[in-house]
Amino acid sequence: MGGYTPVTDNEKREMLDKIGASGVSDLFCAIPEEVKIDSLNIPEGKSELEVLCDMERLAAKNKVFASVFRGAGAYHHFIPPLVRSIVAKEEFLTAYTPYQAEISQGLLQGIFEFQTMICELTGMDVSNASVYDGATATAEAVTMCRDKKRTKIILSAALHPMTVATVQTYCGDCEIVTAPVRDGKTDLTALRRLVGEDTACVCVQQPNFYGMIEDADAIGEAVHSAGAKFIMAVNPIAAAILTPPGDCGADIAVGEGQPLGMPLSFGGPYLGFMACTDAMMRKLPGRIVGETLDRNGKRAFVLTMQAREQHIRREKASSNICSNQALCALTASVYLSCMGASGLQKTAELCVSKAHYAAEQLCSVKGFTLKHTGEFFHEFVTVCPVDANILLHQLEERDILGGYRLSEREILWCVTEMNSKEQINALVAAVKEVCLSETDF
């Protein structure tokens, strides 16, 4: 049996004497006897050595693929080793939310720097200190736009399906309408018809779920001409090179920050980022760090604008969020510092170039075509001549995690800086081989 309690029986006795209790059980006298339990029906504790072996056995039951061509919301990117070394620092790892500013300046300054970097990436005025992930960031953004007169929420059909599902959970009492997709992108003509005086907001993803680059400028214009708010969910790597949301007229920019230094980790923890215009600042949920001065006129950072928050406003708060993703925000800050603008843009350009090379090579396989015709970033959809399940399974046998299956004949591929030319060529060769053998029958 293990534990982390530094106490001897003698010390326990001394403490009980001081308290004036004869035994520890006295301290629990307020609990009705009939509901107390004797013991839990779980195994007894083990030594750390045994538990490590146990957990290693579990990890060994998972398959780590030699090459990964799957994204669909979770992206395989290079993580500079410095990132792990810094976020493992005990002070960052174990501290609580920085309520006591005087002994939390490092955390607060780190978050302030994160907020600045997110503003720079998105071209927005104000960022918060993070939310849980990209999907909840979108749901919180939608909540920011709701008002009594404008009740309709329009979501592009090219949003990540999990984002749509999350918005549906958060805003179950709202009218949620889907703007259709045409050739892999939000259908602008249809959107113009849908958006009106009753519309609170329109949300699109850039690049969208199918990897396509949306005509965000035109969408922003259409949304604003109806007086609605424009929410853009952006990939932060793509944001290094694509027109930022601020320049597309977005009122709120959100996104999944996982590509900024967080490993795949079977889906979490990731990082939701949120930024908005000055005009919407007081509606922003979650923690926000601001700069001020201390009593000696020295620069200091504090949690600020807390009048929005649950611990002050309770049921009238702008959101219930308390803990967010502080350590993941720090991870993103360190990642972005290591990359700098040139490194981040190089990552984005490698993604684009490699994805286009892979798309071209895959489409050289007989029966393979690109489903959509527009510009894409690092994901694209192919129509395949064979059953997607069979193809993907065959790739897995060859140690390749292929794209994400969208339907019987459609696969969403993702290519990043992690995929070498050699890997892409090996993928294409394997695809060719499978297609040949499958179409033989």
Partner: protein
């Protein structure tokens, strides 16, 4: 300290990426941003030093005592970090075939099973990303349950005035009207008032037990009965499980739903404000509504399952997997007896520290406390002008993290202490001595306290100015 942007030098960079091996594809110019984001330009050593300097200005659990009430700042075992860094976990894509992620699924399944047993619930979803996120899911479960029975008139949620702010905020997010119920003079639920309020419009009651003043409400079985008799359900805020895990189970006390903060009771690190994890557990009557997906098992094979009646998705993918792994590791180390002993010792430590301070400071509620207790500085403030804030700020100069201030709201000038089980008697004795010294100083020289802290990297910041004139990002043009 300078901001990282102020340390930037044009041309400094890290050497990280190769050149393209596949040629270059240029996107059309009109899709591209006109100028690059102004990220800092630094060499690796400059970045390392910057963040190391920042870390030196943070008080973590390993820097000293951290009795922040309601936050359970226990030691975070390093084995948890080791497990969460195994490539066999970190390199697994969330959309891999289930057959290739059996280890992840089995770990989640084990965590579900153990947490069900510890809470006395029938099923659990690990999707909640934090306590408040779990609370929100819990209220949606209760709403879905009532609606599934055609019982749509239940709009009210009863919340004690001692509750954490997220409780009413989460209930309001789920579309309920919040009814605050006053606490009695012992800090517990006023049964008479509860009987008056509970009725056909009651969707449920949310309760922390032990409550936020550190008292276990002995009337708990009556409380849950009153709500059930009125047709409502009872929600347990499991943020405060550190006094009762292994001793009494919320499920056995009549609670129908619970969320847990794995970053409190189950030793996962707080990360300076997350990521935590807030799984939601429930009784069978609510199981069909749990957020999807949950992990199921059949003949040794693990898989995700969805219920058609589910409230849906709370976020992308399946929850904070690496945080769940850490909690699972902790549970495996402690085991059945260890979990019980941790609770016992958390309660012993809190009562001991309280005893050491009693007679000098005023304790808000008499009698044994559970894992935390509340002092009130109301009298001291009247007599000396020294407030709870002053005491808290003075502690900073002694290398100790202050207790939670001004919470719960029902105690004036509150200081709430939660030492946790991982502190030694020696640490508690030292803390008590510091607190008593500070109290003497308050009597002799109150002005000295108003001017503390003096030894921290900054003195008290001007929070009013920060809120009035928000400066929320670095200004590159200044």
């Amino acid at each position: 300290m300078k901001l990282i942007f102020e340390k930037s030098t044009q041309g400094h960079a890290c050497s990280l990426l190769p050149d393209s091996d596949v040629g270059s594809y240029r996107l059309p110019q009109q899709l591209l941003r006109p100028s690059a984001p102004r990220l800092p330009q630094l060499a690796e050593i400059e970045i390392a030093r910057h963040f190391t300097a920042l870390a030196e200005q943070v008080h973590g659990v390993n820097n000293g005592f951290y009795p922040l009430g309601s936050c359970t700042m226990k030691y975070n075992p390093k084995i948890n970090e080791e497990v969460a860094s195994f490539p066999g976990f970190t390199k697994i894509h969330p959309l891999q075939p289930e057959e290739s992620a059996q280890g992840c699924l089995e770990a989640m399944y084990q965590a579900q099973q153990y947490l069900c047993e510890i809470t006395g619930m029938d099923a659990i979803s690990l999707q909640g990303a934090a306590g408040a996120h779990g609370e929100f899911a819990g209220w949606l479960l209760i709403k879905a349950y009532h609606h599934s029975r055609g019982d749509t008139g239940r709009k009210k949620i009863i919340v004690p005035d001692s509750a954490h702010g997220t409780n009413p905020a989460s209930a309001a997010m789920a579309g309920f009207d919040v009814v605050n119920i006053p606490s009695d003079d012992k800090g517990c639920v006023d049964l008479e008032r509860l009987r008056e309020i509970a009725g056909a419009d009651t969707a449920g009651l949310m309760l922390t037990n032990p409550n936020t003043v550190g008292i276990f409400d002995s009337n708990i079985l009556k409380i849950t009965e009153i709500i059930h008799d009125a047709g409502g359900l009872v929600y347990y805020d499991g943020a405060n499980l550190n006094a009762v895990a292994g001793i009494v189970r919320p499920g056995d006390m009549g609670f129908d739903v619970i969320h847990l903060n794995l970053h409190k009771t189950f030793s996962t690190p707080h990360g300076g404000g997350g990521p935590g994890a807030g799984p939601v557990g429930c009784k069978d009557i609510l199981t069909p509504f749990l957020p999807s997906p949950v992990v199921s098992e059949e003949n040794g094979r693990y898989f995700f399952s969805d219920s058609t009646a589910s409230i849906g998705r709370m976020k992308s993918f399946y929850g904070h997997f690496l945080v769940i792994l850490r909690a699972l590791t902790y549970i495996k180390v402690l085991g059945a007896t260890g979990i019980r002993q941790a609770s016992e010792h958390a309660v012993l430590n809190a009562n001991y520290l309280k005893s050491c301070l009693e007679g000098v400071y005023d304790v808000a509620y008499q009698g044994f406390c559970m894992h935390e207790f509340v002092l009130t500085l109301e009298r001291t403030k009247k007599e000396t002008g020294v407030s709870a804030l002053d005491i808290a700020k003075a502690l900073l100069d002694y290398g100790m993290h202050p207790p939670t201030m001004y919470f719960p709201l029902i105690v004036h000038e509150a200081l709430m202490f939660e030492p946790t089980e991982t502190e030694s008697k020696e640490t508690l004795d030292e803390a008590a001595k510091i607190l008593i010294d500070i109290y003497q100083l308050a009597r002799e020289n109150p002005q000295a306290l108003h001017e503390m802290p003096q030894k921290t990297p900054v003195s008290r910041p001007d929070e009013v100015a920060a809120a009035r004139n928000p400066r929320l990002r670095f200004n590159f043009h200044a």
